[in-house]
C-alpha cells in the first residue's frame, strides 16, 4: 500500500521528470504494483493528496503523450488509469485532455487488444460521471477556446479515430458517446 505522502511524492516526480522515460516507467510500474491507491485521503493530508489525485489522470495522460512510442509506458499508463477510482471532480478541460490523449495512443498500438476493454472501462467510469459537468462548463463559457491537441481540436481526434477504425466496436461506442456530448457545444470548422 502506498502511503499518502509517498503518493504525493510520486505525482511530484511524474510532473518534474515528465521527459525522463525511465523515471516515468518506474513510477508507473510502482503505481501498477500498488493499484489500491488511496481514494479517500486521510483528513490530515487531504489537501495535498486531493490535489495529486485530481491530477493523476492528467499526469499519466501527459506522460503517455510525451512518450507515445514507448509501448511499455503506454500499457502501464492505461492499466493504472483503468484501476483508478472514479473522480467526479475533474473539470471538463482535464477530461477532454485525457480523452484526447488516449484516443491516438490507443491507435498507435492497435495490436494491444487488451487495452480496448480497459479503455472502455475508463470512459465509462470517468467521462460518464463528468457529462453533466462538461455540459455546464462549456455552455457557461461558450467563448472558451476549444482544447487543442496536436493542432487539432478533440472533434478531429475523435473523427479521425472513427475513420481509421470504423469496425472497432468499443471505439464506436466511446466515440459516439463523446460526440453526442460535445456536438452541441463545439464550434465546428466550416465545410
Amino acid at each position: 500500500m502506498i502511503t499518502n505522502g509517498q503518493y504525493v511524492e510520486l505525482m511530484r516526480g511524474m510532473h518534474e521528470f515528465v521527459l525522463d522515460l525511465p523515471t516515468q516507467v518506474a513510477i508507473l510500474r510502482l503505481l501498477h504494483q500498488h493499484l489500491d491507491i488511496p481514494n479517500q485521503p486521510e483528513r490530515s493530508a487531504a489537501n495535498a493528496v486531493e490535489a495529486s489525485c485530481h491530477n493523476m489522470h492528467y499526469r499519466i495522460a501527459l506522460s503517455m503523450r510525451f512518450h507515445a512510442q514507448d509501448l511499455q509506458l503506454q500499457l502501464l499508463g492505461i492499466e493504472v488509469m483503468s484501476h483508478l477510482k472514479s473522480n467526479s471532480s475533474y473539470n471538463h478541460t482535464e477530461v477532454l485532455y485525457i480523452v484526447a490523449a488516449l484516443l491516438p495512443v490507443l491507435h498507435r498500438h492497435p495490436q494491444q487488444s487488451s487495452w480496448t476493454a480497459n479503455w472502455h472501462e475508463f470512459i465509462d467510469a470517468r467521462v460518464h460521471v463528468n457529462c453533466f459537468r462538461i455540459t455546464v462548463c462549456v455552455t457557461a463559457q461558450a467563448t472558451t477556446p476549444w482544447i487543442m491537441v496536436d493542432g487539432h481540436n478533440i472533434f478531429t481526434v475523435i473523427i479521425q479515430s472513427l475513420q481509421l477504425h470504423p469496425r472497432d466496436h468499443m471505439l464506436a461506442l466511446v466515440c459516439t458517446q463523446l460526440l453526442q456530448q460535445f456536438v452541441l457545444f463545439i464550434r465546428i470548422q466550416d465545410d
Binding site: 478531429t156 464506436a172 459516439t176 460526440l179 465545410d191
Partner: protein, 197 residues
C-alpha cells in the same frame, strides 16, 4: 484531409451507425449526435435519407430498449418537419413512407407502454412528435391517411396519451397535434375533401 466539417462528421456518424447499429448504446449516442446536428445545421446535412433509414432501423431493432426511441423519433421528426415526406428525405415516398410510419409507431407504442427510466417529458415529446410526423405523412396524401385510419393508429395513440396525461395530471400539447391530424384524416375520408389547413 478535411475531416472536421459538418459533412465529414455526418458521414462518419452514418458509417459508424451503419456498422454498429446492432448495439443499442451506439445507436442511441449516434442518433442523438445526428439529431443535434440536424437541429443545428439542417441546411448542411446531405445524407438525410440514409439517416432516416438508420433511425427507422434503430427503432425497429431496439424497440425493447426504450432509450433509443426518443432519439430515433426525434431524428425522423427533425428531418421530416422542414422537408415533408415527399422531398429530399424520402424521394420515393410510398416505398418508405408506410414502413417509416409503422416503425415509428411501433417504437412509440413501446415507449408508451412504460419504461421507468424514460421521463414523462421525453414520453410526451415522443408522442407529440409522432402525431406531427403522422400529420405530415397524411396531409395531401390520401393513401397514407387511409392506411392510418384502417389500422386505428390514432385511436391507439389517443388512448395511450390519455393514460399518460391522467397519470401525470398534466395537460399536454398533443391535443393540438391530434386535432390537426384528425382533421386531415377526416378530409381524406371525404372524396374530394378539402385539403388540411
Amino acid at each position: 484531409m478535411r475531416i472536421c466539417g459538418i459533412t465529414g462528421l455526418e458521414d462518419v456518424l452514418c458509417t459508424t451507425l451503419t456498422l454498429h447499429l446492432f448495439d443499442a448504446k451506439v445507436a442511441m449516442y449516434g442518433l442523438a449526435a445526428c439529431h443535434a446536428l440536424q437541429k443545428l445545421f439542417s441546411v448542411r446535412m446531405c445524407q438525410l435519407r440514409r439517416l432516416m433509414e438508420l433511425a427507422a432501423n434503430a427503432l425497429n431493432m431496439h424497440a425493447s430498449t426504450g432509450y433509443v426511441t426518443p432519439h430515433a423519433v426525434a431524428m425522423i421528426y427533425y428531418i421530416i418537419k422542414p422537408l415533408g415526406f415527399t422531398r429530399r428525405a424520402a424521394p420515393s415516398p410510398f416505398a418508405c413512407l408506410h414502413a417509416q410510419i409503422f416503425l415509428i409507431l411501433f417504437g412509440a407504442m413501446r415507449v408508451l407502454q412504460g419504461y421507468p427510466h424514460i421521463t414523462f417529458v421525453a414520453k410526451k415529446t415522443v408522442c407529440t412528435q409522432v402525431f406531427e410526423i403522422l400529420y405530415l405523412a397524411c396531409v395531401n396524401n390520401h393513401e397514407n391517411a387511409a392506411a392510418i385510419i384502417r389500422c386505428g393508429i390514432v385511436e391507439f395513440l389517443v388512448q395511450a396519451f390519455q393514460g399518460l396525461v391522467r397519470i401525470h395530471r398534466m395537460t399536454s400539447q398533443w391535443d393540438h397535434h391530434r386535432e390537426k391530424l384528425e382533421q386531415t384524416l377526416l378530409s381524406a375520408q371525404i372524396p374530394g375533401g378539402a385539403p388540411a389547413p
